[in-house]
């Protein structure tokens, strides 16, 4: 081991994959359009790249976890997204996995404290 800061770039990307799914499925409990989601996530202290969000929304929609519709009433057309019943079920399952993983890591952290 060195004292150098480890490069966690690619690992962070891997971890973000699952988290972004849960985050988007949670956010879309109310209808939102892409730009408003990016800005809202920023206010939560997180950042999602715009060109990452839209492909993710597309995949979620393809699987039936998110539904979308264009709103043409404003000056500019906006595409609004909302979570579906299947999306809520998926979110619950993902959250359960995430909690289990957290619990396991907490336990190991406590075990490690005793070891040290």
């Amino acid at each position: 081991m060195t004292d150098q800061e480890p490069d966690i770039g690619s690992l962070e990307t891997e971890m973000n994959r699952g988290f972004l799914h849960i985050l988007v499925l949670a956010l879309l409990e109310k209808d939102m359009y892409g730009y408003s989601m990016v800005k809202h996530i920023e206010t939560l202290g997180y950042k999602v790249e715009e060109n990452t969000l839209y492909p993710l929304l597309r995949r979620l929609e393809k699987n039936g976890w998110v539904a979308s519709k264009w709103d043409m009433s404003e000056d500019r057309p906006r595409k609004f997204y909302a979570v579906t019943a299947a999306g809520r079920a998926l979110r619950a399952s993902l959250l359960e996995i995430w909690k289990t993983q957290n619990r396991i890591l907490d336990k190991i952290a406590k075990e490690n404290v005793h070891v040290q």
């Binding site: 690619s10 990307t13 973000n16 892409g34 997180y46 060109n51 839209y54 492909p55 993710l56």
Partner: protein, 336 residues
Amino acid sequence: MSNKLEAYLEEISHYLSGRAEREEILSEIRSHILEKAAAEHGGTDDAAVDRAIDAYGPPRRVAERYAEDRPIIAPAYKRYLVRYTSLLFAFHAFLTVVAVVFQKDFVIFPFLFMPRLNVFTALMYLPTAFLADLGVVAVVLYFVTQSGKDVKLPWPKFGVDLDEVKPPKASVWQLVGRIIGAVVMLAITDFALYLFVRYKTIFLYSLHGGDFKPILTPGAGRYVSLIVIAMLAVSTIANLIRIFTRTRWVNVVSNVLSLGLIGLLLGQSFDGLFAMPIAEKALPAIRYSVRFSLLFVAVMIAIELVKDLVRLGHRKLARSGIGGERIPGSDLQNRG
């Protein structure tokens, strides 16, 4: 609307080509960029749109994020690419040798057409054949991968599994062996040259301890002797180079040259070849045994050549990771 925005979307569209939802994707991106330009850069004029586009990212990278996270060829099939290509190429090379020796066309419709080849066109043909074989195998493995099914492909074993052959460790004794080999080859080549300078041929015989007499007629003797001396020289030079470097390219080049020279020998007519008296009945047997021996040596050299090319190709593929290559940028998907 900004021309730059249209050009930007057009370029993304180019990379998304063929996707059914292309128009929908472009509409989403257009909407987002105009939204961002208006909200963060004070309007939808060219300057504001340009800034929003810059923040959105290069077109190719944007398009790549829509690509499915599926490899072009599944990593599990990476070894198959090398294995199948080498088998196919060995078959191809064998047919090439046959086409040169027997001067016949081959058609295995619709997979293969091999015209009559002479030695030099055959040498030009072999690299093309290798690339074609590699392409055919890659296309098959691509379709197998894209089918998404768990296809169990046969795994033919070679006598010696090339993947399991470990490169020999360089030792002093090996170096000594190489030096001895090079010296011996040099001596043989020198002796052959000496014979050639003195007798204009290296094929001689002597009955009951008498004078040396040429086995072959003067013209044929000179021609065949020169080819054999050239083969010895190639082998000598390769052995000398191997003292200083272990690169397989030395083997490849020397084997290609040797194959070409053997091809020239095979092309030699046997009519009126011998200067010494030979029974008419024995001629066909001699002709066939010489041709068979040369063909056998050619096949052995061709096998060595294929092995070296496969090893070189394997190393190159491993370095570039082509077998397990994922669609560019697919690992960036969902990056936050």
